[in-house]
């Protein structure tokens, strides 16, 4: 008689979810599923809206990474208008992308994951949060909050508000950068670099502290997918797709993101609203792939900023002989490296004279009836694909979101952690186990609001279910 453990809702992630853990007749974990039980359906209700409205509408998918949807939607619009946007507009959009990375990664690391690491998986759940973090290390918490604020302030300066700014549009951006604001942003750079340095120091201590647990945190081979620049560098706004396998071999390179549908399929399962994208040549579910910081830092040949590049080389040493870091726990390290890159690159961009140009928008009417936009959102590569009629009215929209692309891998991670830490014979879910399973999901920093295009907070529900379907234990929080 098999049994199932359910964790629902999952906490400190964006959205609602449930985890069920299935036991076999011997009370060993045989399967674990990460269920996403939200649905909102942006792809459907945007049909009939105008192309020019899409950045504003789709940015409402998420309150954490609205800028990524805004940018990707605008790029799909560029494709439909068949325009090349002005240099200044591209630089401003790049600045926005990096600010989005910075604020989202700072939220993930300092607010959501650091409490686990600094206070411990088995610490009191009532204080294992940002307030507990403040009690443990006030300066660290304060700096984390300020780092996120820096990213948000850039977004606010560019778009006049922190979230859901309608500033990016097909053809470019709406407003140029006020030169007076440039110096203000540059003034943040020394503190931001110092804070990211502290985060990186903390990550390395975390690796030592959790050395015994890390091998069970989503440690498996999978494909890794992301954008790289023309010469293979870390890319965040443009570029082509590269696919690396779990042995460090690049199996596909220089793929045109506009043809994403030729490489990736989307499977569905009856138990989750979150789709399961997979790499078509390997079929479902063998075509499992991971996107986001772990993938990006793994697949690129170099990072263009010096401090982040030095850190990338240290990161790569974690891979041993195979040249690829397969353990999902190292998403956190990769995220910190990307924060460092973002700060360095923001400084570089702010010092480029072209950033202050005033030619910021290419005007055109509908020149194609189909367009694809692709950027690297904080959690991974993001696609917006629109079909329009000759008047620019949306006929069909498809959004492929980073969190969904990690879905198969997240399920695999939950299964691995559950199998290692859960003793099915006891039929109970302890707080420490619960938190470890959640922490496995948090490696990916999933945004379920985005991936199901749904609204959300993130409580957790876990169920332990026997082979006969009996719920042996259930935890809500």
């Amino acid at each position: 008689m098999s049994k199932t453990i359910t964790l629902s809702p999952v906490t400190r992630i964006e959205g609602h979810a449930k985890i069920t853990i299935q036991l076999d007749d011997n009370n060993d974990v045989i399967d674990a599923r990460f269920h996403v039980n939200e649905f909102r359906g942006f792809e459907k209700f945007t049909e009939g809206r105008l192309l020019w409205e899409m950045p504003g509408i789709t940015s409402r998918i998420c309150g954490i990474c609205p800028a990524s949807h805004l940018l990707t939607s605008a790029k799909a619009g560029d494709d439909i208008l068949a325009v090349e946007i002005p240099e200044t507009a591209e630089k401003l959009r790049r600045l926005l992308t990096l600010a989005q990375w910075l604020q989202s990664h700072a939220l993930s690391f300092f607010h959501l994951s650091a409490p686990d690491f600094l206070l411990g998986f088995d610490s009191n759940p009532a204080t294992r949060n940002v307030f507990g973090l403040i009690a443990a290390d006030k300066e660290f918490a304060r700096r984390g909050i300020r780092l996120r604020k820096f990213g948000q302030e850039i977004i606010e300066i560019l778009g006049s508000r922190r979230i859901h700014t309608p500033w990016t549009v097909p053809g470019g951006v709406r407003e140029p950068l006020d030169p007076a604001k440039k110096e203000y942003m540059l003034g943040w750079i020394p503190e931001a670099k110092e804070t990211v340095g502290l985060a990186l120091d903390a990550v390395k201590k975390i690796h030592k502290k959790f050395a015994k647990e890390i091998p069970e945190f989503g440690n498996f081979r999978s494909l890794l997918v992301g954008l790289v620049s023309k010469d293979g560098g870390l890319e965040y706004y443009d570029g082509t797709l590269r696919i690396m396998d779990g042995n460090g071999n690049t199996i596909a390179d220089k793929l045109d993101p506009k043809k994403y549908f030729e490489y990736f399929g989307e499977a569905v399962e009856p138990w989750s609203y979150l789709k399961f994208p997979y790499y078509k040549p390997f079929d479902y579910p063998k075509g499992m792939y991971r996107v986001g910081p772990l993938a990006r830092v793994n697949i690129c040949d170099y990072i263009e900023t010096p401090l982040a590049e030095a850190e990338r080389k240290v990161f790569k040493k974690l891979s041993g002989n195979i040249g690829v870091v397969n353990n999902s726990f190292y998403y956190h390290y990769a995220r910190c490296i990307e924060m460092l890159f973002a700060v360095e690159k923001i400084e570089m961009l702010l010092n480029e004279p072209a950033l202050l140009g005033t030619n910021i928008r290419s005007q055109a009417s509908i020149n194609r009836l189909e367009g694809v936009g692709c950027t690297e959102a904080p959690r991974g590569v993001l696609f917006h694909h629109y079909h329009v009629n000759k008047d620019g009215v949306i006929q069909k929209a498809n959004l492929v979101i980073a969190t969904a692309q990690n879905n198969i891998a997240m399920n695999r991670t939950v299964r691995q952690i559950a199998a290692h830490f859960i003793d099915g014979k006891k039929g109970k879910i302890t707080e420490g186990i619960l938190n470890r399973v959640e922490a496995g999901i948090r490696c990916y920093d999933p945004c379920l609001s985005c991936s199901t295009h749904a609204l959300g907070q993130m409580p957790l529900h876990v169920e332990l279910v026997s082979a006969s379907g009996e719920v042996l234990d259930e935890v809500w929080r």
Binding site: H111, A135, A141, I145, Q152, I163, G456, Q457
Partner: protein, 144 residues
Amino acid sequence: MSKVLVIGYGNTLRGDDAAGVHAAGLIVKRHPEIICVCVHQLMPELAEQIAECDIVFFIDAQKDITQPDMRLIAPRTEVEQPRTHFISPESLLHLSQQLYQHLPAKAYVVGIPASQFEFSEELSAQTDLAMHQCVAMVEKYLTL
């Protein structure tokens, strides 16, 4: 002169939910010396700005009240589980105290009764009236 911060929060696309944002906008228009912040939700990043002020007003639409309401609040000592999308005014005060060792001398939550939260950029007539009453309450306090 006291440094006053008015935080109006709510979703401007959800009808009455925007009442706090509208109220803060009106107050700052009439009293430009006041610092005004309009946001969708309260976030930990506001703690620093709160710590730098003497008086803070959190103005929000509330569906569980029938009359405009202004109440003094204190930092929440029993800690709630913070969410990434929302933090309470009391917890924000706690955060200001913990992180910046400073609290405003007084902090108020100004509640505007609200009932319509469907997609709309306009307030219902009742909430619009209550919003103006709340603005008057804050202005009266400021002139004392």
